[in-house]
Symmetry: none
Subunit: 441 residues, 2 copies
């Protein structure tokens, strides 16, 4: 089984870089064949972007249908010199498989495939119908997947979706993610003088767009680290008592978190702890800023232009479309007339939350318990999975997020890895999940 994963990991299926297009295709072909070998009817379907793989076990009417989502594309591997072993030559060390994509998402999705194969071999059939949808553009924001869902809605009809593409709070702790944050990305551009000016000749007589930009961004937060945009928190769902209680018991350590970030200290919105801040509170973040002279040494100019890339992580029940207007109004209002402002909308995704105690949630909980034999960690996810909202919007389906990524999996970083234990747990989890869904409530 590990050999299968090693083979899967050898494809440099980097979707962001067109020079890997042949590798992405080869990887999709390999996976399609592997699904066929496992006993599924599988096809590689061309899209305007990378191909999507659809695969089905023999479906029987009367059985529930589980749609399992994953992706076979991976993040770029650079900076290459920081890898201890080459990213596309998977290597086993200390019980972990090191390779780009080991955790995100090849190890996790292949565990589901192998779980299905095992059950088919042992029992001849599954307790539920299973459809796999495995895409090749997750790492570039799934730009064509929503359209695909619309086109293949009939093929994708199901009762529930299962996804293993999120984190585990710690090794061996079954982790149920029941919420993700949403996102809104904007770029603010300011123009002052029509060209960079000599700061001696003109400095003091015209507004400096960089100075103005800093003054605007500084107004985004108050002294308590709260976002000051009027109405920003209006729809924010308070953290429930049961959540605070459960989170307080998690095997989580601020010191470990601090070490992972490498920041001098942890800090954020007053009145909340770290997990609350990243899981259940919205943020306003500057992802990039630029303006004026960027080179070595000084250059005494009043810059002509300045930009800031802003992203807002949103939580239930904030609405990115509504906030896009609210934030645009706010930025326009606080921008003085001494500069010209332009706001570029980039992309957005809604936050997501379903109760872990829904019917399907309970089935997933039973499967997690059987797989790991430990109390379940109920967590939210600070990141955004826009695809979940598309599943809800287009197919009307909720998603169970049963992740197997460890905090030190180095997802998107050099030396990405996946423990063999987690790979095997993933195979067991798949089997238990399908059985529990078949049993029902």
């Amino acid at each position: 089984m590990i050999d299968d994963l090693l083979e899967f990991l050898r494809f440099p299926s980097v979707s962001a870089d067109s020079k890997y297009k042949p590798d992405v295709e080869a990887c999709a072909d390999w996976l399609t064949n592997r699904l066929r070998k496992a006993g599924l009817e599988a096809s590689k379907i061309a899209t305007p972007g990378q191909p999507v793989i659809l695969a089905k076990t023999p479906h029987s009417p009367g059985k529930k249908t589980v749609l399992i989502y994953g992706h076979y594309d991976v993040q770029p591997a650079d900076p290459l010199d920081l890898w201890e072993t080459p990213p596309f030559e998977p290597t086993v060390r200390d019980g972990r498989i090191f390779a780009r994509g080991a955790t995100d998402n090849k190890g996790q999705i292949l565990a589901h495939v192998l779980g299905v194969e095992q059950a088919l071999k042992e029992k001849g059939e599954l307790p539920v119908n299973v459809t796999f949808i495995i895409e090749g553009e997750e790492e570039t924001g799934s730009p064509t997947l929503e359209e695909f869902l619309k086109t293949y809605a009939k093929e994708l009809a199901a009762d529930i979706i299962a996804i293993s593409d999120t984190g585990m709070i710690a090794p061996g702790i079954p982790t149920f993610s029941y919420s993700t944050r949403g996102i809104l990305c904007l770029e603010v551009r300011l123009r002052g003088p029509s060209a960079d000016l000599h700061s001696g000749i003109f400095g003091g007589s015209v507004a400096n767009p960089v100075t103005v930009l800093t003054e605007m961004i500084a107004q985004l937060h108050d002294a308590d680290g709260k976002v000051t945009v009027p109405g920003f928190y209006d729809r924010v769902k308070p953290i429930a008592d049961w959540e605070r209680e459960l989170w307080a018991k998690l095997p989580y350590d601020d010191r470990q978190w601090l070490a992972t970030t490498g920041s001098p200290v942890l800090s954020g919105e007053a009145g909340f702890n770290t997990l609350e801040r990243v899981w259940a509170r919205p943020t306003a973040e500057v992802n990039g800023i630029g303006g004026g002279y960027q080179g070595e040494g000084p250059k005494t100019i009043v810059p002509s232009r300045a930009f800031a890339k802003l992203s807002f992580r949103l939580v239930p029940d904030q609405d990115p479309t509504e906030l896009r207007t609210t934030i645009t109004k706010f930025l326009t209002k606080i921008c003085p007339h001494s500069v010209e402002i332009e706001i570029l909308y980039q992309h957005q995704g809604r936050p997501y939350l379903v109760s872990p105690d829904s019917d399907y949630g309970k089935m997933a909980q039973r499967a997690l318990k059987q797989t790991f034999d430990r109390p379940i960690a109920f967590v939210r996810e600070g990141g955004t999975l826009p695809i979940i909202q598309s599943f809800k919007d287009v197919l009307g389906l909720d998603s169970l997020l049963l992740g197997l990524a460890l905090p030190d999996a180095k997802v998107h970083s050099p030396n990405e890895n996946f423990p063999i234990d987690n790979f095997e747990a993933g195979i067991r989890l798949n089997r238990h999940l399908l059985e529990e869904i078949a049993k029902g409530t």
Copy 2:
């Protein structure tokens, strides 16, 4: 004569960027040879930085000696895409020469060289002794020139210094600058996380160094546009009544100034008009800012680092060395512990002020009248010539600032230019000036 200037302008003698070092050297060689061709004894002298060119006409005892200062280095030319014609391919359009360095300072210093050459050719000798000192580090703050002055003090002995590196109030108006602003350049660098972090997984739990930087810079000014650093204005000399009276009569127009800058409106420190703001009031300016993702589209990270290049224009009698400490303390104090701060000192220069009615001032006034046949504008200079203060300190000499830069010369900006009229006026001015100094009071 224009061909000489075009040739001079073709050297990309950018002193701030070490990749242009060979061009700086080649430019210095060209100029040394041009001075020899003009009949001077010239040498290129190596320094720890860029070479200095020293050149002398045959000196006779009994004649006064005029030291003419200029620089052959230029500002970086970026942003290149805003130039209508390439910065180092000088082009003549509408009576102006467009190129980096056309006005600042190649056009102006070459006018002096050609004035001396003309007089030598016509008369066989000059009415005064002339020494040229032409440096290659003015645009990086002349870091090694003061040491050079000390070493070559004997060679540089003179009665007065003449410099054409300042502005004319309007085309055809002889302009006498009697004061310059000083400068202090710093770079502030902040570090938050040890590497860029995923803004979903970590956003909200650690300080974003870009956000912190904007909050710090926003604290540099109050709502009236005044610099908030404690003690910043303590030594600022108030504007004298005679200055306000003369300035009010100058052929100056806010609308023209606004058009030159291309800014939406003029703005600055409350209680002062435009000329007062740029000539007699200090500023705090951000010359460049950067941090996080600079490319196209969004990238959802919490950046690891951020920087801002700050420059403070100073006026008599502010002291850059004192303010360097004051400002460093202020920035360190307002920097929160959630990031690490590093402040890099870059360079500084003292402000300068002498009466235009000194003896040499009166001689210069006569030369200006003869050259332009118009009433003289007495102005201050918003820019900085740190070297003037070094001349005073090391050589004990005052400087006559007889500038030829027009308000729309686009010095330090794309499309820098120098009118051929000003180039020719500069040659005449050199000849009248040397004659008037020979005549004395």
